[in-house]
Subunit: 141 residues, 3 copies
């Protein structure tokens, strides 16, 4: 039994780039492996990554675009899982929960049927704050 049992990680995923998705999913996977709860709230460009087919196309931010090819080659050589593969594994844990931000969907004209089937809850910021207020680690990615 881990000493971290009962601890909680809560992350706002606002970015829609592959580095940030990896950060969110690596932290969540690590948390779950340590018996911590992991809650991810997807908003703005993060929410857009929950549209079917979007996560596979995620690239690096404009500032770091020149590093994209090298990173992709190394990830392939390492046989590193893709962000979507990581998300699907996370969904198998009952310590993991993900939320789609409802106002972001309206801002970008995204409908429920546009989203990947892994999304269960479409909620507002109040739900996230309720969860985050009881979390041990809170991050905005």
């Amino acid at each position: 039994m881990s000493e971290k049992e009962g601890k909680r990680l809560a992350i706002v995923v606002e970015s829609g780039t592959v580095d940030k998705l990896y950060c969110a999913f690596i932290l969540a996977s690590t948390a779950v492996a340590m018996d911590m709860e992991a809650h991810l709230y997807f908003t703005f460009f993060g929410l857009q990554m929950l549209v079917k087919g979007a996560m596979e196309k995620a690239g690096l931010p404009a500032t770091y675009k020149h590093l994209e090819r090298k990173m992709r080659e190394n990830l392939e050589r390492m046989k590193y899982p893709t962000p979507y593969e990581m998300l699907k594994r996370l969904k198998q844990s009952n310590l993991f929960k993900m939320y789609a931000c409802s106002p972001s969907m309206e801002m970008f004209g995204i409908k429920r049927e546009d989203l990947i089937p892994e999304v269960e809850e479409i909620v507002g910021a109040a739900t996230f704050l309720e969860i985050a207020a009881e979390a041990d680690v809170t991050l905005f990615i």
Copy 2:
């Protein structure tokens, strides 16, 4: 009486783009509506958004620039308040406090009289850390 009464949200607003301003102000507004304190510390490009007239011109980050037009159209159709309108509403709550980062002002040659009148306190990082160390949710946006 909310169960979140007495809880505290503390955010560093480092970014100067419209999506990040919305994130900060939506989270702060939601917090205040839940009887939580909300403290926003504006630094770097976030501080620049406190210069008179700047917030109205805030756009999307370079990486997501192509989404700007669609987002603006949807926000208008939704009659969504602008970031500055949200800030002015927040100022009516005594649970809300905002701080301008003094070193950032010197770094970018910004004077007190350049700032919007809503700014009351110009402080350094120590003030933010004192507040954040007693907060329940801490984020860097």
Copy 3:
């Protein structure tokens, strides 16, 4: 004796731009001056800034590139320390600890001997989460 003694700041440094390095190092320096522990975990583009010579070349993000010259001139006039100078000062405090993310090194083909000598620990996300789960302020920069 400070009232903040025994408090802890834990930051993920994911970005590799000069504004974000300043944010991380200013917050860490302020924390240490307040008798708080400061833990910085460098990953992705933050990790790349630990390669010898990289920190000196750090610029502003694409979105804010037009502000770079003005900021540099002001920093010089203010005789503000560079990020690397701030890091070297931080290393003199036993309240400060920094960590290099091991998977990021593999993703970008970076070897231990490529890193500045200030790096002592090369670890994974679990180490960071263990530290962050006991921290009072957690940020992702």
